[in-house]
């Protein structure tokens, strides 16, 4: 969404979150108060070093992956956060059937129930019923990859 500028006073009424994210990362680099910036996003964090390698953690704003990550020079991610202010749409990323299976197994997503179609935004559905899949299960048009 484009930034809206007030026609009367020139205020940016809809500042873009990408620049805000960068500014937060800039504030996180200020000497002394940096960890306070981390804690506004993750209030429970107490460590300032990587729990895996002991290197100091750094707060970064990223253009790929999560908007904010707390990571060490070795690339271990201690925390991550996505910034979705008002009006910012949720986005979806590529996945495999194994990803779905893992998410369901680990309880990250909870399917609404048997017979409900799995998420398929951007999916081209194959309407052919795979061999061995009961017609009743296929009636909602589940992606064939799920059964492979």
């Amino acid at each position: 969404m484009a930034e809206k500028i007030c026609a009367i006073c020139g205020q940016r009424r809809y500042p873009h979150e990408a620049q805000t994210n960068e500014m937060v990362a800039q504030a996180a680099r200020l000497p002394g108060i940096g960890p306070q910036v981390w804690r506004m996003v993750w209030p429970d964090i107490t460590a300032s070093d990587c729990q895996l390698c002991g290197n100091p953690l750094v707060f970064r704003a990223c253009r790929t992956g999560a908007d904010w990550v707390l990571t060490c020079p070795a690339g271990h991610v201690a925390r991550q956060a996505e910034h979705k202010p008002g009006g910012a749409p949720g986005q979806w990323s590529r996945a495999t059937a194994d990803d779905y299976k893992r998410e369901v197994r680990e309880g990250l997503i909870v399917p609404a129930g048997i017979g409900a179609p799995f998420p398929h935004r951007g999916t081209i559905r194959d309407t052919r019923r795979p061999a061995g899949v009961p017609d009743a299960m296929w009636s909602k048009g589940r992606p064939t990859e799920w059964f492979s």
Partner: protein, 120 residues
């Protein structure tokens, strides 16, 4: 050919084995990634453990509370006020009362004036 997709917070969680905190005022991850797309129906919910939510007022209140213990330089204060003001502009109006006085003090007065007095 089938291309499956997952909410980005789930993708990041799978990639790094760390929950992805969602800083939003649009509800929880299910609201942002599922209910916002009516064509998806109610296929599934994203669990809170996968994507814990921090609201913008809670972020601003935490920042303001922590900064009260610090003496900020002019440049530091300018940067933090700019951040607070940008976050405040994207805050839904019905959640403005959840921003406490110390956090409101970080928001530039000209933004308040514009927000309340100038027609959108």
């Amino acid at each position: 050919m089938v291309q499956l997709t997952v909410p980005q917070v789930d993708r990041y969680r799978l990639d790094h084995d760390v929950p992805c905190t969602l800083v939003t005022d649009q509800g929880d991850a299910t609201d942002v990634y599922v209910k916002a797309y009516p064509s998806l129906g109610d296929d599934f919910v994203v669990t809170a453990a996968d994507a814990p939510v921090r609201t913008t007022p809670s972020v601003l209140n935490s920042l303001a509370g922590a900064l009260r213990r610090y003496s900020l330089s002019t440049d530091q204060r300018r940067l933090l006020c700019d951040i607070a003001t940008r976050l405040w502009w994207r805050l839904p109006w019905d959640q403005v009362p959840a921003v406490y006085a110390p956090a409101r003090a970080l928001v530039r007065p000209v933004a308040y004036h514009c927000g309340w007095d100038h027609p959108a």
